[in-house]
């Protein structure tokens, strides 16, 4: 499993570590951990490679819950929920861009997935009768969102980590993956820098599963952890794998003003309301039926419009008012966001409304995979937020992302377990040269003459992306934005960290992250410019209507000779025909 090789003796000093596993899972969030359990239980030798300790993954920050049609709480008219209703809400929420076969599979598996976590020990919140509690969420016809107070991701992630630990599954912690390695048209592993030592490792495996999460940090107003830099999407792009629907970026309606930390949709699910600076419940103008619980794209646009038209507060925010819920309900159901509001905005939601504004939250697009998580290359799979399978289409419903991570973490692992029998042992020769290539690349970066700060470039990128590819988009402005991004790419190629150490060089890691982020930013930009319609989260001022005739299709982006090449593929319909979306 572990072999210490000396690299070519000419340059002598660097010793190279090569590791062998059947399956390498990149990422230790909910998807990666769930897949690792499945792989381990099948008897295969799997390992997790993660740039942070698994418990520091962004899954831990998920608040509101996980959708499943358990039907534990009847609907308003006493009717019961079903997976079909869940699928309908998901497809409608996606503005009909989701692939309906993948949606069906997710919704059918949802109840078993919530139960599965319970069986592993997750402490779900409960109803009086002892059943798992469910709350209403945006765009859903039933109280369908199972929750553990407002710390659902934390509870689920700790549960899965406990199971991973119990099985002694190897975790390469704080390893930043530097490349995917291909041989004869097939993925045979990856290289990674061990952050604490600076040493480059090679991981040879029959299968690599990408579970690396989203790319929210290409935007400056984001709820995402600082580590969500789209590393997996950038690695896939470099290898030649298409990225799908990358222009669809979710802006969450309620992020805390100042830090953009998430204020869960569960706050509105529990009865919280949105109020503008004139004291109006403005959602009645935008979504008269669903009001504050319309889907996220609708509510985010509405808030942004209120602010732009002068009905927000100075600085650009509105109020999320929970005061009428009472102290007991807030303390029981929403303790986490109460603490966040107190810690970071000095506001206690029991007494005062919380200042909120929309902020980047989720990446609907990602690595192009078919319904089993496979990419165009044998041996390379992707699942969770880094992938686009596509269950969220143009707009994800709250409560569906936790669900996707665990459902497809398991299902894609099942497919891997089946497929791996057909794959021969990879050839290790390629890995040595791949490791050497990364060593040379890092040497080249650190050897550059000092230039302007890389941090400034990152700041500019995030600002450009939010200002020019944010909630409201316009062709001309986006063209300017794309030019700026390309200039930044050019600029970065001359920059270097001041710190020249190999061990614990976090600026070097940030440099490598930024390289990838600028590529992802370009893909988002190109996709958004070419999509001349408004659908879900993608709102064009110059093309305000949805155009099913021309754009009911997925965008695919590949890297061809250094530039982004776009093509399209059809959406899988079947259950529900596209209709106008009214809430």
């Amino acid at each position: 499993m572990y072999l210490d090789l000396k690299a070519d003796d000419e340059d002598g000093v660097v010793s190279t570590s090569i590791h062998y596993h059947d399956v390498i899972i990149i990422g230790g969030g909910l998807t990666g951990l769930r897949a690792a359990l499945q792989v381990s239980d099948s008897g295969l030798n799997g390992a997790i490679v993660s740039k942070v300790h698994p418990l520091r993954s962004h899954s831990v920050a998920a608040q509101g819950g996980m959708n499943a049609s358990l039907g534990n709480v009847p609907g308003e008219d006493g009717t019961s929920d079903s997976w079909e209703m869940h699928a309908y809400d998901t497809v409608k929420g996606s503005d009909y861009l989701a692939d309906q076969d993948a949606v069906e599979r997710m919704c059918r598996e949802a109840t078993a997935t919530v139960y599965e976590l319970e069986h592993m020990g997750t402490v779900w919140s409960r109803l009086e009768n002892g059943k798992i509690a469910q709350r209403p969420f945006g765009g859903a016809g039933f109280p369908r969102t199972c929750y553990a107070a407002d710390r659902t991701g934390h509870n689920a992630l700790h549960t899965l980590y406990e199971q991973v630990l119990d099985r002694n599954i190897p975790v390469y912690e704080e390893f930043f993956v530097t490349s995917l390695v291909k041989d004869s048209g097939r993925c045979i592993g990856c290289t990674a820098i061990e952050i604490m030592t600076g040493k480059i490792h090679g991981f040879i495996s029959k299968v690599v599963l990408m579970a690396t999460g989203g790319f929210g940090r290409i935007f400056n107003r984001s709820t995402n952890a600082l580590i969500n830099t789209g590393d997996g999407q950038a690695l896939a792009l470099d290898l030649g794998v298409p990225l799908k629907d990358m222009e669809f970026v979710q802006f969450h309606p309620t992020t805390l003003y100042g830090t953009n930390i998430l204020m869960s949709e569960g706050a509105r699910g529990e009865g919280g309301i949105l109020i503008n600076s004139r004291g109006e419940r403005f959602m009645k103008r935008y979504a008269p039926n669903s009001m504050d619980l319309a889907p996220r794209d609708v509510v985010a646009r509405s808030i942004e419009q209120e602010i732009r038209e002068g009905r927000g507060y100075d600085g650009g925010y509105i109020h999320l008012d929970l005061t009428h819920l009472g102290a007991d309900r807030i303390k029981e159901r929403l303790p986490g966001i109460r603490q966040i509001a107190m810690d970071f905005a000095n506001v206690d939601p029991i007494n005062d409304p919380v200042p909120v504004q929309p902020g980047q939250h989720y990446s609907m697009g990602g690595i192009d995979v078919e319904i089993n998580g496979g990419t165009i290359f044998p041996g390379l799979y992707a699942a969770g937020e880094c992938a686009c399978i596509s269950v969220h289409g143009a707009n994800r419903l709250g409560g569906n992302s936790l669900l996707e991570t665990v459902v497809y973490g398991r299902l894609v692992a099942d497919k891997i377990i089946k497929d791996i029998k057909e794959l021969s042992e990879p050839d290790s020769q390629h890995m040595k040269s791949a490791v050497k290539a990364v060593e040379s690349k890092i040497e080249e970066i650190l050897g550059r003459r000092e230039g302007a700060s890389i941090f400034k470039v990152r700041e500019n990128m995030a600002e450009t992306m939010f200002q020019k590819f944010g909630i409201f988009r316009d062709g001309q402005i986006m063209e300017e934005g794309l030019k700026e991004i390309k200039k930044m790419q050019e600029k970065l190629s001359h920059l270097t960290p001041n710190n020249k150490d190999l061990a614990v060089n976090q600026t070097l890691i940030q440099f490598l992250e930024l390289e990838g982020m600028l590529k992802i930013a370009e893909v988002v930009a190109c996709g958004a410019i070419k999509r001349e319609e408004s659908r879900g989260s993608h709102t064009r001022i110059d093309y305000p209507d949805r155009d099913d005739d021309n754009y009911l299709k997925h965008t695919l982006a590949v890297l061809k000779e250094g530039s982004i090449d776009l093509s399209y593929k059809s959406v899988i319909l079947g259950m529900f025909e596209p209709k106008e979306r009214v809430y």
Binding site: A61, H119, G130, H154, I227, I340, D343, N498, Q506
Partner: protein
């Protein structure tokens, strides 16, 4: 204001402190100040970060001689002297370096764990102790088809312990962990207690026995620092006191027979 930061890396003889001057802004956290340090002063500074919202537990460090999450700690509050927490003394809290709390913020690595570089400590020991208590659900019944029912009355006490984010602030605040390198520490014991009180567990009390050893339940001296520094209000002291009581009761029962 000034940020006074502990620096250590392989190859230097002994740790030093770097001082960096910056303008505090509304809402700036110690983590934010460390990013300023990295971006404007010295990009070789090393520190852990991830969620920046006090939920992932990766940025626990010693700030003004109190173990805290850097991302949750507001610099203006520190400068105003608002976040003082009285702690039972231990060697890491001693004044080893001069600093002026009115205009300086002192940032040092989390105590009781080996320093890798600057503010990054090796958490292996902390996680070894966590693993030692076998923190995994062991239900009493065979896996049912659906979910088990749970009385909602049981949830609030369980949540006290499931809320732990394993940041290690308690470990770095515990005088016993400082003097006895083998003591399992507050986080691991609180985690074990979480499983003991889960009504779905087979025989929760039996699980207490894994820490019924000198370096387990019995090593705690009830200083209470753990509770005071916990960013999530987890009460390891209560867990430890209750576990001892239950183990003592069981001993008495056996003694009676």
């Amino acid at each position: 204001m000034k940020l006074k930061v502990y620096r250590y890396y392989d190859g230097i003889e002994k740790p030093r402190y770097d001082t960096f001057k910056l303008e505090p802004t509304q809402g700036m956290t110690v983590l934010g100040a460390l990013f300023q340090f990295q971006q404007k002063f010295d990009d070789s500074i090393a520190f852990h970060y991830s969620c920046r919202g006090a939920v992932c537990g990766t940025c626990a460090m010693l700030i003004n001689k109190v173990p805290r999450l850097a991302c949750r700690t507001q610099v203006t509050s520190l400068l105003k002297g608002e976040l003082k927490i009285p702690l039972s003394p231990y060697p890491a809290l001693e004044e080893t370096v001069e600093w002026n709390p009115e205009e300086e913020i002192l940032v040092e690595p989390l105590p009781h764990l080996p320093v890798i570089r600057d503010l990054i400590v090796d958490m292996s020991k902390f996680f070894d102790f966590y693993k030692y208590v076998e923190p995994v659900f062991k239900p009493g019944d065979p896996t049912p088809e659906k979910a088990r029912h749970m009385d909602p009355v049981a949830i609030p006490e369980l949540e006290l312990y499931t809320n732990c984010i394993l940041c290690g602030a308690c470990f770095g605040s515990c005088p016993v962990d400082g003097s006895d390198p083998d003591y399992l520490g507050p986080a691991a014991l609180a985690k074990l207690y979480r499983f003991c009180i889960d009504p779905r567990e087979a025989n929760g009390i039996e699980r207490l026995k894994i820490a019924d050893i000198p370096r387990g339940w019995w090593d705690c001296e009830f200083h209470g620092n753990c509770r005071r520094v916990c960013p999530k209000d987890v009460p390891p002291l209560i867990a430890i006191a209750k576990a001892r009581e239950q183990l003592n009761q069981e001993r008495e029962k056996i003694g009676d027979k």
